[in-house]
Symmetry: none
């Protein structure tokens, strides 16, 4: 499982297109017994499935519900349970900040601290976004670190991301958030010498922030958690000999793709525009990752009809997507999700995700594209971490093992 033996990789072969329909899978609605995919009219996806390999991708262990980061890493062929993958990193990548090696990121909250140093409100009264931005700018102006600098990325309400930049900084530092109100923030400590250095810097940041913000009635302090750095993982080029590009509208997904060395392309604002970008850049890359968010958003909303509509809207663009592959014998198209988001569940779930793999070397079964249809597919239920290997095999990019 995981990466194919490196000596079998070929640099020639077909191109691979992966469309992730975020939160694709669902569950039967108790009112009528159909899932969102079963209730939707998906003529193009059904026709594609009937001449493709199909099955269900198990994203993590069969009982684990993936977050978006682990969901995508698993589809990309990495083991998310073995990658040191902190919240601060996700926040930084989600803010489109290209975290460099050696930088340490943490998720921050503005909070309210009283004169005795106790946290009175962990979220500083949930200020408007503009207020968060103002507080970040104030800190940027007044706080100075020794031999290091920092960047603040304002977020929604009380949330921001802190990035500390310096030499030899570790990220094994505890959170200072006491998690309950009426207690003081924890002091920072590092688990090793490099992290001690970072702990000293963020202690200084914390103390200067208290001084600088002491007159703010809400937002007189900062809580920091999830200290993390870029993990040391192989790029797509190293792992698969693929020049890879991401075409995703939401920053979070560009960020996860950047983690594995994909080049970020300007996605436009809709799926047909994303497909047009892939068409334009066709000769420059071997692998294209396209991401569309709507099924997940609808799933979270709990609105069954909205998820059906989101799926049907995507189905309209499948012919344009298929046209990318042209007549190239070895080109491969994969359509799946990063996890299921059933409307009746209103959250991500652990269920395996329906998948289509189209190439010239499939054993199609006459199955429609929905949760129960693809159970009869030739791929069965398989580990998402094997998907990239399968894609490489179908694309003619893997040599034979042994003579």
């Amino acid at each position: 499982m995981g990466a194919p033996p490196r000596e079998l990789l070929r640099r020639d072969g077909g191109k691979i297109v992966l469309l992730v329909m975020d939160g694709l899978g669902g569950l039967p609605d108790p009112q009528h017994g159909k899932t969102e995919m079963e209730a939707a009219s998906l003529p193009h996806l059904d026709a594609l499935a009937a001449r493709s390999s199909t099955g269900r991708a198990q994203i993590l262990d069969p009982y684990l519900t993936p977050g978006s980061g682990p969901g995508h890493l698993s589809l990309f062929g990495y083991d998310p349970q073995r990658i040191d993958f902190g919240r601060g990193l996700l926040e930084a990548l989600g803010s489109d900040y290209p975290l460099a090696a050696g930088e340490v990121a943490a998720r921050g909250n503005f909070c309210t601290i009283d004169a005795a140093g106790l946290v009175q409100d962990r979220r500083a009264g949930r200020p408007p976004d503009a207020e968060c931005k103002r507080l970040c700018e104030k800190l940027t102006q007044h706080v100075q670190l020794d031999d290091a600098d920092f960047v603040l990325l304002p977020g929604k309400q009380h949330r921001f991301t802190l990035v500390v930049r310096g030499n030899g900084l570790g990220h094994h530092i505890n959170d200072n958030d006491p998690q309950v109100e009426g207690k003081p923030p924890h002091p920072f400590a590092g688990r090793d010498a490099a992290s001690e250095k970072t702990a000293a810097l963020v202690t200084s940041f914390f103390e200067q922030a208290r001084q600088c913000l002491r007159d703010e009635p809400q937002g007189s302090g900062v809580l920091l958690r999830g200290f993390s750095s870029m993990p040391d993982i192989e790029s797509y080029d190293e792992r698969y000999a693929l020049r890879a590009a991401v075409i995703a509208i939401y920053p979070m997904y560009r960020g996860v793709a950047r983690l594995v060395g994909m080049n970020v392309l300007d996605p436009g604002t809709s799926l047909p525009e994303q497909i047009a970008v892939a068409q334009r850049e066709w000769d420059n890359y071997d692998f294209f990752f396209l991401h569309t968010k709507d099924p997940d958003t609808a799933g979270h909303s709990g609105d069954f009809a909205a998820k059906v509509s989101a799926l049907e809207a995507i189905d309209q663009h499948i012919p344009q997507l298929e046209a990318l592959l042209g007549t190239g014998d070895d080109n491969v198209l994969i359509i799946t999700g990063d996890h299921s988001t059933p409307t009746i569940h209103r959250e991500h779930s652990w269920h395996p995700v329906p998948l289509i793999l189209q190439s010239q070397r499939c054993i199609p079964m006459p199955t429609p594209f929905h949760e129960r249809g693809v159970m009869g597919g030739d791929l069965g239920t398989f580990s998402a971490q094997d998907l990239m290997g399968l894609a490489l095999a179908h694309a003619g990019r893997l040599d034979k093992f042994g003579a």
Copy 2:
């Protein structure tokens, strides 16, 4: 996965017959949508499948295309990705040379080397086989090694196998083939003391060969690669408590069977003769491995009709094969492939291989014997490395685990 716990093995129980139809699985032909197995008329195999366990054997990781060596080792229940299994060994075994422990084999090419010591033609103009034989004989007569001797096995065109025999010889030696023309051969070096000893011997072999062949217009030197020895793996007797025999017409498959300690029987020249050999030797062995090459050969040729014919020809002999089992309650018959060789692909592929397991303890599904039929079989898609354990269980050769 792999070997069952040794303390559960029984020396009594039924006999196990494994027929490997080399390159069995295929893919749908785009013209009519049927695979070779689907297009073939296989009445005996279909009838057998409908009263047997069926499924698909995954030979290696689901995206890896097995060579014949790894394909068979996996069916035999070994992990080919963990066995040090060099090209020289395969060549020696493929020449029916029973490589002994401590002998080192390498694949050789006659090449043409100019006066400056540069390789002008890595294949010496692809001489006729008889010419290769003559050059081998010339070297055998004139080259002498200190404290060691050697055997040369002539092959097709420029190819031969060198076996070096001596005491304390290692096989961790680089290839001397520069891979491009216009460069000198690499000097040999060993990675450890034992391999250094071998490196010195093959350096002497190389230099004497140059001297001896200096007047040959084509074939004035030798290139050697894939140095290897017999790997240290358990025999069938140690691993499964089975007295095993191979009945295979092609030397390569006898060689792989010899690797795991199977006894080599004279196979005759056709499948019915192979089955007759098994009948004759029935009382002397617990396990018979029969190999037939034709489906693979037809797959490589890209001739759909030829593969259909090859399958239909084998089907004619299935009643004779089944008759071997007689009325023995615990006897087991397995029919499968070592990998797929789809005609449209003209090469081995990564797709799982259809499989029949016949015993008195099956849960048959009414499935015909082809790629899509056996997807509905009771064994599902399972690792080939579990096949021998299943066979032992069905043969009543495995005790209960725990009380």
